[in-house]
């Protein structure tokens, strides 16, 4: 049995009270529940406060470029599908500079889990407005208030063919670790957006604010996460933000479609030059 400390490398140094602490804790808890070797985990992060996560988590880690966590994670998973691959981004990372990759990854449905740490602000760069900031949001970059609509990641994910869409909250670490565990078990691309207060730069979207403005779908026995229309409706209501498993479906993964059954992962291929076979192919250039 794996223990929490197997995944704990060093003590994190986020600001005191930062929501990412509970994401770190939930991640370790989910890893314990999955009982997997740290060597089998690859965590790819983008640039932002969230990007420190794999500095503290004991596993293979890749701190990629701003917005590019998903393509790197996809390259890892497709080369060696036997690894558990997790991508982590901020709201700026995922929904602004990396938005193209977000939509296309959902479309592809590669078997990776993607956490979007949504603090509704650009934290690492000292508090600018982000795509999830609400209209009118005042920050150093929009001193007269944001003039743009905010972006709804899970709703966009549903429209883009997402096969697992969930939303967690740093204020509810138990639910969060369950969602991560479910997401990791899901065959296909699992999006988990995590509402996570930035106590230093975002004085609007605080723990209290999120508590007041969210409700939990997991407590709603009438809700069926396999019903796409229902999910759409929930995600379309402007007033309160739904938490929990929003939508899940069984869908072929990208790996199912592009690889032959029982094929060895690409990285285990024998690369020795098969001269007779290549000679035959060369004959076609005539």
């Amino acid at each position: 049995m794996r223990k929490n400390k197997d995944y704990h490398l060093t003590e994190p140094t986020w600001c005191k009270g930062c929501g990412i602490y509970s994401i770190f804790a939930a991640l370790k808890k989910a890893a314990v529940a999955l009982n997997q070797d740290p060597e089998q985990f690859v965590i790819v992060t983008g640039i932002g406060c969230h990007g420190r996560l794999n500095n503290y988590f004991r596993s293979y880690g890749f701190h990629a470029l701003h917005g590019r966590a998903l393509p790197v994670a996809s390259g890892v998973k497709l080369s060696n599908p036997s690894l558990s691959v997790l991508g982590i981004s901020g709201d700026g990372d995922a929904y602004s500079i990396g938005l193209g990759h977000f939509i296309h990854s959902l479309r592809r449905n590669i078997n990776i889990t993607y956490l979007v740490v949504d603090n509704r602000i650009y934290a690492l760069t000292q508090g600018q407005t982000s795509p999830t900031s609400e209209p009118g949001f005042v920050s150093v970059s929009t001193p007269y208030g944001s003039k743009e609509l905010s972006l709804n990641g899970p709703k966009l994910a549903l429209a883009s063919g997402g096969s697992f869409i969930a939303r967690g909250f740093s204020g509810n670490p138990t639910q969060l670790s369950t969602l991560i565990e479910k997401g990791m078990k899901h065959r296909g691309f699992a999006l988990i957006e995590v509402l996570s207060p930035c106590v230093t730069h975002n004085k609007v979207n605080t723990y209290q604010w999120f508590k007041k403005n969210t409700y939990n779908l997991d407590n709603d026995s009438d809700y069926n996460a396999r019903d796409k229309m229902k999910a759409w409706k929930k995600l379309s209501k402007e007033k309160k933000i739904p938490l929990g498993l929003i939508y899940v479906e069984k869908r072929q993964t990208y790996e199912d479609v592009v690889f032959q059954k029982e094929a060895e992962p690409i990285v285990f291929n024998d690369l020795r030059v098969d001269v007779p076979r290549l000679e035959k192919i060369m004959e076609k250039f005539k």
Partner: protein, 585 residues
């Protein structure tokens, strides 16, 4: 027996028209027949980036000797429109044959062209009149060319059957062959048998026929590339399209990504995981890849990037050739990091260098760029069969599980004398580490301490020095004691060699230094070459003389050099080089 035409050893045929006229199809079939007669072939595509409605031309050059580019003159010219004639007739060889489809074709002024013989040849009218469809004009043209060039009709018929029988059936093949014979008969009426051209057929001939893009794709497969991700772009897509067919057969994968950012970053992820991975692109795509290029340098991830240069800047001229991305890859991306930039000059070198590229990338754990050009990237060339027994796969300091388990304290970025550190792959036991886009310590974890920064920077940059003896050295062609030195890279290979022959006929002796690695710069070899030349010329397809500028920054001794530049978006012709040298002396 029918009379033979003039016996020659080198011939250039231009086929021109508007995009949509079937110029590419006609040219490719002609090139194939000529190749099967046992000649060396080099084709040159000058196509617009539109699908329809703009002038386009295709030159097929055949020779008994190996050739690597365009000739100065056009011997046979067939045009589907009149405008093309006005544009290119200046290039007609003395006594060349010119056929033009155009009722209203009037020679503009006799002095404008050396061509004495030109003929109206109503291709469109013949096609519609006899077969009811304009499309048959391509076959009629091929029939005429087959007669004029004294080619083997059976070869042509076989190629047509190969192309159409399975897809379109017997009837289509029959009609096409009929059209070929019509073309031949019509040509007979205007060109007498002795007015034709004849090349000696060669039987002992076994050559491949492929483009640089295809040679790269095939070479990558042989080199063990099993992961390829890219975004469509001219003139690099042929690499991808070839790999898309063959990689899956080798348990590999080709991914069409949403953009070049994704392509390069996926390749980074794949290579980090242990796959031999590559992407290919051209100008604008290369610009989008710059950030990831730096990450490969910083995180020491071995990747191969093929940049098939087109005419820039910006969207530029997507289907035309240029050598203006040298700066981009030698200097590009922010910050300092090691990279290796290779420049093949021929299709054969495309194959050879891509294999070297994969080995260099893994041995020195850095990005390797294969800088090629639209010219031979898309141009088809005859080539000697590649020697597959020589292909070696060197994976450098990549550890296997047994080796890794024995290491006491594994450090992915360990400081070593040569700067290259041992490499473990995700999934391996005892190899946990971090890959950082930030500056990092020996384990890969972020570290902004100035002392560490200095050591890490030196460690990474040291790899270039370690690689220097392993690189592809510049090659000297021609007589070593010749007083004129010519330096070039990439596709200027062919024109420079032919320019040297032209100069020799005028009593000027020249030699040529072919730059095959652009970075790290082989300063010593270049210095030696320059020192042994009275006058040096640097030949490049760009405006600012990018190689010349690089050279001047890397060569310590002052020297007298002149640039010969061509930024017309067209490849050099030999005489453009030889006359400029002559004039400058």
């Amino acid at each position: 027996m029918q009379k033979k035409g003039k016996m020659i050893t080198d011939i250039s045929v231009m086929i021109a028209g508007m995009a949509g006229d079937g110029v590419l199809f006609t040219g490719n079939v002609l090139a194939k027949i000529m190749k099967r007669q046992g000649w060396e072939i080099s084709t040159y595509r000058d196509f617009p980036s539109n699908i329809r409605g703009e002038p386009t031309n295709y030159t097929i050059r055949a020779s008994l000797e190996k050739i690597y580019g365009r000739a100065d003159d056009i011997d046979v010219f067939i045009a589907f429109d009149c405008d093309s004639i006005f544009k290119h007739s200046e290039r007609m060889a003395e006594r060349g044959i010119l056929l033009c489809d155009g009722e209203d074709f009037v020679w503009p002024s006799p002095s404008k062209s050396k061509a004495r013989t030109y003929h109206k040849f109503p291709l469109r009218k013949l096609a519609i009149g006899n077969f009811g469809k304009e499309i048959f004009k391509n076959m009629i043209a091929l029939g005429a060319l087959c007669y004029i060039l004294d080619l083997n009709f059976y070869v042509l018929e076989r190629i047509i059957s190969e192309a159409f029988l399975k897809r379109k059936g017997k009837e289509v093949v029959r009609k096409n062959i009929q059209a070929i014979h019509l073309g031949c008969d019509q040509a007979k009426e205007i060109v007498a048998p002795e007015g034709r051209y004849s090349l000696k057929r060669r039987e002992d001939y076994d050559r491949l026929f492929l483009s640089g893009d295809e040679a790269i794709a095939f070479g990558a497969l042989a080199a063990g590339c099993r992961f390829f991700a890219a975004y469509p772009i001219c003139p690099a897509s042929e690499i991808w399209q070839w790999l898309a067919v063959y990689l899956p057969q080798f348990n590999g994968l080709v991914v069409q990504t949403e953009d070049e950012l994704a392509a390069l970053n996926m390749v980074l992820g794949a290579s980090y995981t242990g796959a031999r991975a590559m992407t290919s692109t051209s100008g604008p795509g290369g610009s989008l890849m710059m950030e990831g290029f730096g990450l490969a340098g910083m995180a020491e991830i071995p990747i191969v990037i093929v940049n098939v240069q087109r005419a820039g800047p910006s969207t530029g001229m997507p289907t035309k050739t240029e050598q203006s991305d040298l700066n981009q890859w030698v200097y590009g991306s922010h910050g300092d990091f090691p990279r290796i930039v290779l420049s093949p000059g021929t299709v054969e070198e495309c194959f050879e260098f891509i294999i070297r590229a994969f080995n260099l990338a893994e041995k020195y754990q850095c990005p390797v760029i294969l800088l090629t050009e639209q010219d031979y990237g898309q141009g088809l060339r005859s080539a000697k069969k590649f020697d597959l027994s020589k292909v070696e796969i060197e994976r450098g300091k990549l550890l296997n599980q047994e080796e890794l388990i024995k290491i006491k304290d594994f450090k992915r970025y360990e400081f070593t004398p040569e700067g290259v550190s041992p490499r473990a792959l995700p999934g391996m036991k005892n190899g946990l580490h971090m890959v950082e886009s930030n500056e990092h310590d020996e384990r890969g974890y972020r570290d902004e301490n100035p002392e560490n920064r200095i050591r890490m920077m030196q460690k990474r940059m040291k790899k270039l020095k370690s690689a220097s003896k392993d690189l592809i050295a510049p090659k000297i062609w021609g007589k070593r004691d010749a007083e004129i030195g010519i330096i070039g890279f990439g596709s200027t290979f062919g024109p420079i060699q032919e320019a040297i022959v032209q100069l020799e006929k005028k009593g000027i002796r020249a030699k040529y230094l072919q730059m095959r690695t652009l970075w790290p710069f082989p300063s010593k070899k270049v210095e030696e070459f320059i020192a042994k030349s009275k006058k040096t010329f640097i030949v490049e397809n760009n405006f600012s003389g990018q190689l010349s500028l690089l050279l001047k920054s890397q060569v310590r001794t002052p020297f007298d050099a002149r640039n010969i530049l061509n930024y017309s978006s067209q490849a050099f012709r030999p005489s453009e080089i030889s006359t400029q040298i002559q004039r400058a002396l």
